[in-house]
């Protein structure tokens, strides 16, 4: 028999979690996509990674405290990108070994096209050539504009390590670009 109380089974829980999830997707999707895009240099792959990460967020939402969500998302996104880059390197090496010849180099990415100047394009390439964690540090700080604490939580580094590594990363970029940075 029906009553005035219209609660469906698990309705309140489901509704609260769905609202929370929708809000988090709206809040973080841009940053996740942008981070993946800058690390991978490929729009379709970046969207796939961001999608997988957000689905994982839904699966783990009940166990994540609000203040841990952002660093968790960024860390999972970065790890997924690094995995993808590793697989890409292995498959390129495999192709080169079995078919012969040099592995195909990624010569241009959407980031290059977005950078209007020659220097911007060279900078994008130089960032891609940085080793980890320097590449992630530059993207998280200079592109995504995270603070030191957020970067530290994402990369599992102390604040002072973040500062030191970030300076080292920028120095590497300065050395790599050299006279191209002169007016």
């Amino acid at each position: 028999m029906t009553t005035g109380c219209n609660l469906s089974f698990a309705g309140p829980y489901d509704g609260v979690m769905k609202r929370r999830f929708r809000r988090l997707v709206k809040e973080h999707q841009g940053q996740l996509f942008s981070l993946a895009y800058h690390l991978l240099g490929n729009s379709a792959e970046a969207e796939d990674v961001a999608q997988d990460v957000l689905v994982k967020l839904w699966q783990h939402l009940a166990g994540l405290e609000a203040e841990r969500v952002k660093p968790w998302l960024l860390r999972v996104t970065r790890n997924a990108c690094l995995d993808l880059l590793r697989r890409r390197r292995y498959s390129q090496a495999y192709v080169a070994e079995t078919v012969g010849g040099e592995p195909l180099a990624v010569t241009e990415t959407p980031l290059d096209r977005l950078s209007s100047s020659d220097l911007g394009q060279r900078l994008a390439q130089a960032i891609r050539e940085l080793d980890e964690p320097f590449r992630s540090l530059v993207v998280l700080r200079d592109v995504e504009e995270l603070n030191y604490q957020e970067i530290g939580q994402t990369l599992d580094l102390s604040d002072s390590q973040v500062k030191v590594y970030l300076h080292r990363a920028r120095r590497k970029l300065r050395k790599r670009l050299g006279s191209e940075l002169d007016d």
Partner: protein, 177 residues
């Protein structure tokens, strides 16, 4: 032509100086050298230009298909998000929560000692039913997990069977109480 080398100590501190992160004595030493060394001055200019270029790199917007796809996948795949630690602890915790909610809802009928002195208000009853629904959600999911861990449906059926009266109460509550 060979490029004159900048001493490493200064070269390594250019970015820190630009970020204002050198100590007082280090900053003074750096600035004294900067005033007299054109090589250091050139590197500082390069680092400044690099900083400006880095800030010009675009942070990108997600394509609209991203959230649409995510909502579609999560909406179709999961009824409830996975709990943080899917063990029997959740079953026990959920069962306790359900029992507590039941006692609040049915207190006069199930507790010894006869009629209670105070009757719950309609709001309290609605709240108790919401708590019960939440607890049942946990218990149901824990039952499913336990059944999967046991490799069959028997566990889930048992848990579901045990909870059926409570679930009926949740949907027919006002008439039964």
């Amino acid at each position: 032509m060979t490029d004159k080398q900048l001493p490493t100590w200064f070269d390594e501190r250019i970015e820190a100086w630009l970020d204002d992160e050198l100590s007082g004595s280090e900053a003074a030493l750096f600035e004294a050298r900067l005033a007299t060394d054109p090589l250091l001055e050139r590197e500082v200019e390069r680092a400044t230009r690099l900083g400006a270029q880095l800030q010009d790199l675009p942070a990108l917007q997600a394509p609209s298909s991203l959230s649409r796809n995510v909502m579609e996948i999560t909406g179709n795949t999961f009824a409830l998000p996975k709990l943080a630690f899917p063990t029997w602890g959740w079953s026990l915790g959920g069962a306790c929560a359900a029992a507590l909610a039941l006692m609040v809802t049915l207190g006069p009928g199930v507790l010894p000692g006869g009629e209670p002195e105070l009757q719950p208000t309609a709001q309290e009853l609605a709240k108790a039913r919401a708590d019960l629904a939440l607890a049942l959600g946990y218990v149901d999911q824990a039952g499913d997990m336990a059944a999967r861990q046991l490799g069959g449906q028997a566990g889930a059926l048992t848990v579901r069977g045990l909870l059926e009266p409570a679930r009926r109460l949740n949907s027919d509550g006002a008439d039964t109480i």
